[in-house]
Symmetry: C2
């Protein structure tokens, strides 16, 4: 077996989570993760844990989603019971074909997403020991327009690294953002947005809930966002891509929007609820081993030289105790390329220009 698979499994059970004697582990796996699953079952066994593998997605799920009765659909209480009885949740994405649900009606996808919300929330919950990761399967490689083996190199470069060193590197940005009040992000002609992060912690995210990780994120105060943003990477919602999304904020709220493709999808997203029209997250990608966009948010948002902003709910740990938290049924990350013609200002001082931080070589204030 590829030794990188073994190392990946070790990072998952020892660093992202802490599988220990007596732990019940649920492995939520895509259909094409066999090698990683074999390595995970071994590590879980060695540590005295007990694994159960649930397979999500694939041909079965498409078949169910097309057949299910929208009126009759009910909560997956059995799956919720399973997850609540688990000590550790490991979610491995791996597709043979990422378009497997392309012929499922959007309303069925939405209904299914709605009944799966408790499971999503449980996975995201701060108190849940959980990780989301990716096994380099052919379908995901194809989505990235890469060969399967070339994609595997990309995935393991992003995942298999010195996370302690990365943590120390990112801590330099945390020290800037943590005490700060105002952040301004400027890129190209169309992005110039300002927000307050006063009182909200900056989170140093390395190999914990996501693998790969490599970002620092915080939450804007919900009413504070002002300005305009043009997003550089497509946003995908239920299989439809919104390219060139553009948002205008006043008092934190989106007051105008447009998109180069599928603008109606963006309109739909913004109409989800009140919180969906406000930003819940400002994230700064710092994983320089992710050197290209692969149409996979787990990687794209961690990429060095990028900033992402999420419409919708804030992550609990990025909101200060006395600060309001943006609530929404959605959390939709959208990416701005910061590699050129761009800067980030914190309390009036430039801390990054064209992707280079002021604590890095080559920074031009």
């Amino acid at each position: 077996m590829d030794p990188r698979v073994d190392r990946h499994a070790e990072l998952i059970v020892d660093r992202c989570t802490d599988v220990s004697e007596g732990d019940n582990v649920v492995l939520l796996s895509g259909p094409a993760a066999e090698d990683l699953n074999v390595a995970l079952f071994e590590k879980i066994g060695e540590r005295g844990g007990m694994p159960t593998k649930v397979v999500l997605g694939g041909r079965e799920m498409r078949s169910f989603l097309r057949a299910m009765d929208l009126e009759a659909i009910s909560a997956p209480d059995h799956m919720i019971s399973l997850m609540e009885a688990a000590d550790v949740l490991i979610n491995v994405r791996a597709s043979r074909n990422v378009s497997e649900t392309s012929d499922v009606a959007p309303e069925s996808m939405q209904a299914f997403a709605r009944i799966m919300e408790p499971i999503q929330e449980h996975l995201e919950d701060e108190d849940t020991e959980a990780v989301i990761t990716q096994h380099p399967a052919p379908g995901d490689a194809q989505k990235a327009e890469m060969s399967t083996d070339g994609y595997a190199d990309f995935v393991y470069d992003a995942i298999d690294q010195d996370w302690d060193a990365q943590q120390a590197h990112q801590e330099q940005l945390v020290e800037i953002l943590d005490p700060a009040s105002e952040v301004r992000v400027v890129a190209g002609e169309e992005t110039d947005v300002t927000m307050s992060i006063a009182g909200n912690p900056a989170v140093n995210s390395v190999a914990d809930k996501n693998l790969p990780s490599g970002e620092v994120f915080t939450a804007p105060l919900p009413d504070s966002v002002e300005g305009t943003v043009r997003f550089d990477m497509p946003v995908v919602r239920h299989g439809r891509e919104v390219e060139g999304a553009y948002l205008e904020f006043e008092n934190g709220e989106v007051v105008a929007h447009e998109a180069e493709t599928n603008e109606d999808v963006l309109t739909g997203i913004l109409g989800t609820d009140d919180g969906a029209r406000r930003l819940g997250e400002l994230g700064i990608g710092m994983n320089r081993d992710i050197d290209r966009f692969t149409h996979n948010m787990l990687f794209d948002e961690k990429m060095g030289d990028t900033v992402h902003m999420a419409l919708g709910r804030s992550i609990e740990e990025s909101v200060g105790e006395d600060n309001p938290k943006n609530e929404s049924a959605i959390h939709l990350d959208m990416i701005v390329d910061m590699s050129e013609d761009s800067f980030i200002e914190v309390d009036g001082e430039v801390v990054q220009r064209n992707g280079t931080f002021r604590f890095e070589n080559g920074f031009e204030g």
Copy 2:
């Protein structure tokens, strides 16, 4: 898709179980059942159910079983929670390689079987809506020494039939056994065994907890079995085959045993507990579409012209209210070929000779 797969899925959700609106369904699947799983997810969706697929076996399980710490192993509480929250359980067997655990230590297999006992009991429980079935995967075909497509023909011949007609056919035997007291099974030179079934119901098993089905079974009174039995098909325990097992009973208990191969395995089985030395079941195979042994008990024990006797625990529904029930951690079916030089006597009357029942053409009393 092979229309027989579709029909198989229909039998599972409509006849063996009754998947209805709001039902939470757990699909416990072997690794090589994809086509049947796709069909099942469709049928479950159409009926308003909600499926969760747990994969058992395969390379992952071998990896876990070899790595697990025998001292630390604990109950799979999360899997038990899942099953208890389910309305319907569907267990689909399907192997790519039936020898996947051949290099796992026997004590690990035993320890795992022990912690999985609550799950096994839950599956077997009379009040659980559950079915065990087989998808014709390459590993199972190989075990049967058949081509994959030839094995598929065999599996669907056994499964896809007129179960109402089969039920009526079997009812003729139920009517003989139900009021009866004594059964004697004689085959060849070495099998001549007598037992009391007085007060124990004969169960007409067609397409319910097993698919294929096609047997009538009851329970001997635990102290009543007298005589000797030579079994014609190997018994497999934790991957080791016992060929030519021979048992001698007195007052219901095995007082002598031998085997042509792996006699120590048989000795180990009999030493499990007190109930393991007594018979818990007498079953009579009546599915004539199963026309060969395939080293798969789900099929072998249903085969026409066979009788099986199980060491260990009795099935609840085959034990009369006021009768003692044999209890044991094991339930091990063992088969006697009744196709020639054999007869079954009920209360002194021959009811089957050389595989032909007295209610069938060609019977020679």
